[in-house]
């Protein structure tokens, strides 16, 4: 119950510019992966990033919680600038949850232990409280009955829902999704998308790298199209899908919407 009131409060505040990316560049050796990215995301916004493979979408969202370093420009998350300072990185990671393409659940821990690990060791929550909270989130992703199983005993869709619950247990202000449905069988994609849609409805700030254009249409506030390490186009979904401005966007949409 307390969570609901909390999230409503958060929605009411709706802090502008919870993520600010200013003139950001990244290189892998000599390869210029991300070129001069500028983006401001307000609290409660739902952003979908799409683009052809190799366009730097994943690299970009991995920079937001410093799984990748940027070499030039600034990234400011919830008023904390990401630099080499370990304390800054740790404090940003506590507020930013992430869901990976390949789930990355810890196979030596049960579902419940996966969810409680970080709340117990990082937030220093009492175990009983952490477990109660984890069960609440597992119910929200509709798998409370799997709590004492190991990740290896679950299907892909179930594992991804656990991964979402695990990230939510840290009560993050921002959630990053890195192609969360790309490794799933078609019939499991829906169960994960349902959870994400439900989460979007609760006012969570979300950045999703995904090819699920249906999800983008129903949920996103803005769709960002990236190609060659640049942000090519940025528009609300209604405009983005019906009336794309850039030629490259039109070409991309034509290719993926044909089927």
């Amino acid at each position: 119950m307390t969570q609901h009131t909390e999230s409503k409060d958060v929605q009411a505040v709706n802090k502008p510019g919870i993520i600010r990316v200013e003139g950001m560049h990244k290189w892998y050796g000599n390869f210029h992966v991300l070129k001069d990215l500028n983006l401001t995301i307000d609290q409660g916004e739902r952003i979908v990033i799409c683009g052809p493979s190799g366009s730097g979408k994943s690299t970009f969202i991995r920079c937001i919680n410093r799984l990748e370093e940027h070499q030039q420009g600034r990234i400011i998350v919830d008023d904390v600038e990401l630099t080499d300072d370990v304390r800054h990185i740790d404090s940003v990671r506590r507020e930013v949850g992430m869901v990976f393409q390949h789930f990355n659940l810890f196979p030596h821990l049960t579902v419940l232990e996966n969810c409680c690990l970080s709340p117990i060791w990082v937030r220093k929550t009492p175990r009983r409280e952490a477990e109660a909270c984890a069960m609440e989130y597992l119910e929200r992703v509709k798998i409370p009955d799997q709590a004492n199983k190991y990740p290896g005993q679950l299907s892909g869709g179930q594992q991804q829902r656990v991964a979402i619950a695990r990230a939510l247990c840290m009560k993050p202000k921002i959630m990053l999704f890195d192609e969360p449905t790309s490794a799933l069988d078609p019939e499991m994609i829906k169960e994960v998308l349902d959870v994400m849609i439900e989460l979007a409805g609760s006012g969570m700030t979300m950045i999703c790298v995904t090819h699920e254009m249906g999800f983008a249409k129903t949920v996103a506030d803005r769709v960002i199209f990236m190609d060659g390490g640049e942000i090519v186009e940025e528009a609300p979904p209604s405009e983005f899908f019906s009336n794309p401005r850039e030629a490259r966007t039109q070409q991309f949409l034509q290719q993926i919407l044909q089927h």
């Binding site: 992430m98 990355n104 810890f106 690990l117």
Partner: protein
């Protein structure tokens, strides 16, 4: 016409057709394969053949040995173990002199083998883990030093390394009169390493009591800290407090009891040292060589174990806000251990068995004493070899058992 193998097969066909029929009705299969093509019948046939072959070879060997020994007048049996040995052993952990029995030489050899194996396992494990982690260090120099160490040590035969330490290093140390001396208490020369030996005085019981008390307190603190973490979430610095307890309590007791500990310092008496504790050069050379050699293999095992944990695991842990130390402790190491344990077991077994190379430099281990001198003097080859092999087998199986139990505890459950 019919080859002998086939007759056996035909015989088997007959004896198993009844059971096959029953099975078929249960499975409600229309027709099973003919016995000649039935994999179960074939498997059984080859098992019977190989079992018979093994028994035949074994019987021939035993019969041959027994009849040969009889014709040469060699007595069999274990009676020789009670006879007086009549030879001295340079190092013994159990009381021993030349008047004692051959059976006693067995225990001297066994304890010496266990001593060097245990010392080797401890140092090789510590060194191996350190070098294995160093090999993955992001520091270029540290990683390369570890690489060079591994590639040199593991590619030179162990026997050469034992000779190197014994003949090239330890034998070239100065004679007792010119010993390398540290603070008048520690002496190193070509006869060995001499350390001061503790002599417990009256009242040392208090210190032992304090050690026991400290151990109890550590367990208590751990239980309490875990309970408190479950209840309030606060993480107590258990490790630091435990170390402090273990050092401080006995130290305080030591001073309260009036420092009831004296040191027996080694001193030069005539041509050699007396008093204190002596590590003979044979033991030191064997210990160093076994530790360094096995550590190079353990280092590679540790490296492969850590690398086997996918990058995604580290990333997920970091994304959850766990700092590097906790990521290693809670996520990487528990998963790496399950890859490390089985080959680590093999290395421990290798180390124990390699310790028998002691015989090359004269360290009195089980092989040197019991299978060397005792066998030569008694001529009871079959009995002595059998006992020695059984001992190594037992040690190895015990190590395997404990490691398997540990491995089962850390194994990952799937499906």
């Amino acid at each position: 016409m019919i080859p002998p193998g086939l007759t056996v097969m035909l015989f088997l066909q007959g004896s198993f057709s009844g059971r096959g029929m029953k099975k078929q009705t249960i499975d409600s299969r229309p027709t099973g394969p003919k016995p000649l093509y039935d994999p179960r019948v074939r498997a059984l046939f080859f098992q019977v053949i190989s079992l018979a072959a093994v028994f035949w070879v074994g019987w021939v060997l035993i019969d041959n040995t027994l009849s040969n020994m009889q014709s040469r007048g060699i007595s069999t049996g274990f009676g020789f173990l009670g006879e007086s040995a009549g030879f001295g052993i340079i190092m013994h952990l159990v009381p021993y002199d030349a008047t004692m029995s051959y059976g006693r030489t067995f225990w001297v050899g066994l304890t010496n083998t266990l001593l060097v194996s245990a010392m080797g396992i401890v140092t090789a494990t510590i060194l191996g883990f350190v070098i294995g982690v160093a090999r993955l260090s992001s520091n270029w120099l540290v990683a390369k030093v570890a690489l060079v160490y591994i590639e040199i040590i593991r590619n030179i035969p162990l026997l050469l390394q034992i000779f190197f330490w014994y003949f090239a290093v330890l034998s070239n140390l100065p004679s007792p009169r010119q010993s390398v001396e540290v603070g008048g208490a520690l002496f190193l020369n070509n006869r060995g390493l001499y350390l001061p030996g503790p002599v417990l005085q009256d009242g040392f019981g208090l210190v032992w009591g304090a050690v026991v008390l400290a151990l109890v307190a550590v367990v208590g603190v751990r239980v309490w800290a875990k309970k408190r973490q479950l209840a309030t979430g606060d993480i107590f610095p258990t490790f630091k407090v435990s170390i402090a307890l273990l050092i401080l309590l006995p130290l305080v007791a030591y001073f309260i009891a009036g420092r009831p500990l004296e040191w027996d310092l080694p001193a030069l008496k005539g041509f050699n040292f007396g008093g204190g504790i002596t590590l003979i050069p044979e033991l030191v050379a064997l210990w160093i060589a076994l530790s360094l050699y096995t550590a190079s293999f353990i280092a590679e095992i540790v490296r492969s174990g850590i690398l086997s944990v996918s990058q995604g695991q580290t990333e997920a842990s970091k994304a959850l806000g766990l700092p590097n130390g906790l990521t290693l402790r809670l996520v990487v190491i528990p998963q790496a251990m399950r890859v490390i344990i089985p080959p680590l077991t093999s290395q421990y077994l290798n180390l124990v068995k390699n310790s028998s190379l002691a015989t090359a430099i004269g360290y009195p281990d089980l092989v040197a004493v019991f299978m060397g001198t005792t066998l030569n003097q008694t001529g009871q080859a079959v009995e002595v070899v059998a006992i020695t092999m059984a001992v190594y087998l037992t040690i190895s199986l015990l190590i395997s058992l404990f490691m398997n139990l540990y491995n089962r505890a850390v194994a990952i459950k799937e499906r």
